[in-house]
């Protein structure tokens, strides 16, 4: 089977044209990025607002959890019947599924900022905006990035499932191959989808290192597992 897989990847026909690996990879990445951007635009301001003002947090998190329980296949088929078009319906579904983790991360991130630190910031004369961008956001960054990371994984997985309602992308290899039991195509699809997820995951790990101030990273590491709850 491994040799078949090598043959599949070695076949130049699989690397060109609308069914080729590059095209499908780009499509998949495209749907993921587009949905991510839209979800960020919706979820981050919302999360910042709720986290900063402390209003409506519980309700928002509950709704978020309910959305996370939505079955992906149910959501994409429902949306397809509504919009009768693969791409529109899938992007909407992807955005709906990506918003809760980003929202939860942003909200949790702001919640995690120690009130003492925020008070100190207010004490040295920072305005609300300054507190938000110079203190709260950097401290909450690990959790926010974590939320976005979860969202991206969810997006890659769901975009693969959406091949069922006619979407392009790497899921096509999975479903089309499965339909004719062409295991090379199926495994290739699984491998490519997984690799994409891993690469994006690693990207976020690197982003975390790059963006989160060293002091916050150290503080988070020191605090992990040692928090005392009343």
């Amino acid at each position: 089977m491994i040799t078949d897989l090598f043959h599949w990847f070695g076949d130049p026909a699989h690397w060109s044209g609308p069914d080729g690996i590059p095209q499908r990879l780009l499509e998949h990445l495209g749907y993921t990025v587009l949905a991510l951007v839209i979800a960020l635009v919706i979820a981050v301001p919302l999360g910042l607002f709720v986290g900063h003002t402390g209003r409506g947090g519980v309700a928002l998190v509950s709704v978020g959890n309910a959305i996370r329980a939505l079955p992906t296949l149910g959501l994409v088929t429902f949306l397809f019947l509504l919009f009768t078009e693969s791409v529109t319906s899938t992007i909407i579904g992807l955005v709906v599924l990506a918003v809760p983790p980003i929202l939860a991360g942003t909200y949790a991130g702001l919640q995690a900022t120690d009130h003492g630190v925020v008070d100190a910031a207010e004490g040295v004369g920072m305005t609300g905006w300054q507190r938000l961008w110079k203190v709260e956001v950097p401290i909450s960054l690990p959790l926010v990035l974590g939320g976005i990371r979860n969202a991206v994984l969810q997006l890659v997985a769901t975009a693969a499932v959406a091949a069922y309602v006619g979407l392009g992308g790497l899921g096509r290899f999975l479903l089309d191959g499965l339909a004719i039991l062409d295991y090379s195509e199926v495994i290739a699809g699984a491998l490519l989808t997984t690799l994409l997820a891993i690469v994006l995951d690693v990207l976020f790990a690197l982003l975390n290192r790059a963006l989160v101030p060293k002091g916050v990273r150290l503080a988070t590491a020191a605090a992990t597992g040692k928090k005392v709850t009343a």
Binding site: A69, L75, T77, A157, L178, Y183, V186, I198
Partner: protein, 227 residues
């Protein structure tokens, strides 16, 4: 005929109702069996990782990697890996067990880490051997943190079982593929609703079990530092 009429007609057929209930039963089994097995495996793995530092790092990397694998990709690869029959529901069970275990390893490790050294010292002092210490002290104290992870895993499993319909497994996912093929909203809506209700009910049950297993949390703060 508007949507509600259609829904009424759909639910009005005895055969339809029977199918929905059958699919629900399958779904519950396919989501919860991996949960239980995953909890056991995660506790075992966590125990190893807690004892031996090198095992811990390997576990964390492996768990992270496995959890990253997209659902459909994992489902289709499993028959080839474990030699199961192509239509066998065991494929979904194995895949979800992998996800559950990968998800729960970290909470287990965190929870075991968080048990205060003073408590462990006390247990050793009154003569508990390591195994008994684990099951009588460390594990029960881990329940709250574990429970949080199990709740996340259960919601995830319940949602993912539906994807199994794409590889021919039963469960509520069958309602989605049926509704899609016939351009019929009712089965899809019923399937989504049933999934959400199931997730809610299971979550409530899990919270109840957690509370049952941790009576000291409700008894109030005894002053012992436990995370």
């Amino acid at each position: 005929m508007n949507f509600f009429d259609e829904l009424g007609r759909y639910l009005g057929s005895g055969n339809n109702r029977e199918q929905i209930l059958g699919d629900l039963g399958d779904h519950i089994y396919l989501a919860l069996l991996p949960l239980v097995i995953g909890i056991v495996l995660a506790i075992a793995a966590g125990w190893f990782g807690h004892r031996w530092q090198p095992a811990r790092s390997v576990l964390m990397v492996l768990a992270n990697l496995l959890y990253t694998i997209p659902s459909l990709a994992l489902f289709v690869v499993i028959p080839g890996l474990i030699g199961s029959k192509i239509l066998d529901s065991v494929n979904v069970v194995v895949a979800l067990t992998i996800y559950t275990t990968a998800l729960l390893v970290r909470p287990v490790l965190d929870a075991l880490d968080a048990v205060a050294p003073s408590v462990i010292a006390a247990a050793t002092a009154i003569g508990y051997k390591p195994v008994r210490k684990f099951f009588a002290v460390e594990l029960p104290l881990s329940v709250p943190v574990l429970a949080a992870g199990v709740r996340v895993a259960s919601v995830s499993n319940i949602s993912l079982v539906s994807v199994g319909a794409l590889i021919g497994t039963g469960g509520l996912g069958v309602l989605f593929t049926d509704g899609f093929q016939r351009e019929y909203f009712s089965p899809i809506v019923v399937g989504i609703a049933a999934t959400l209700v199931l997730a809610l009910v299971v979550d409530l049950v899990l919270v109840g079990i957690r509370n049952l297993l941790t009576p000291w949390e409700r008894a109030g703060n005894t002053g012992v530092a436990v995370a």
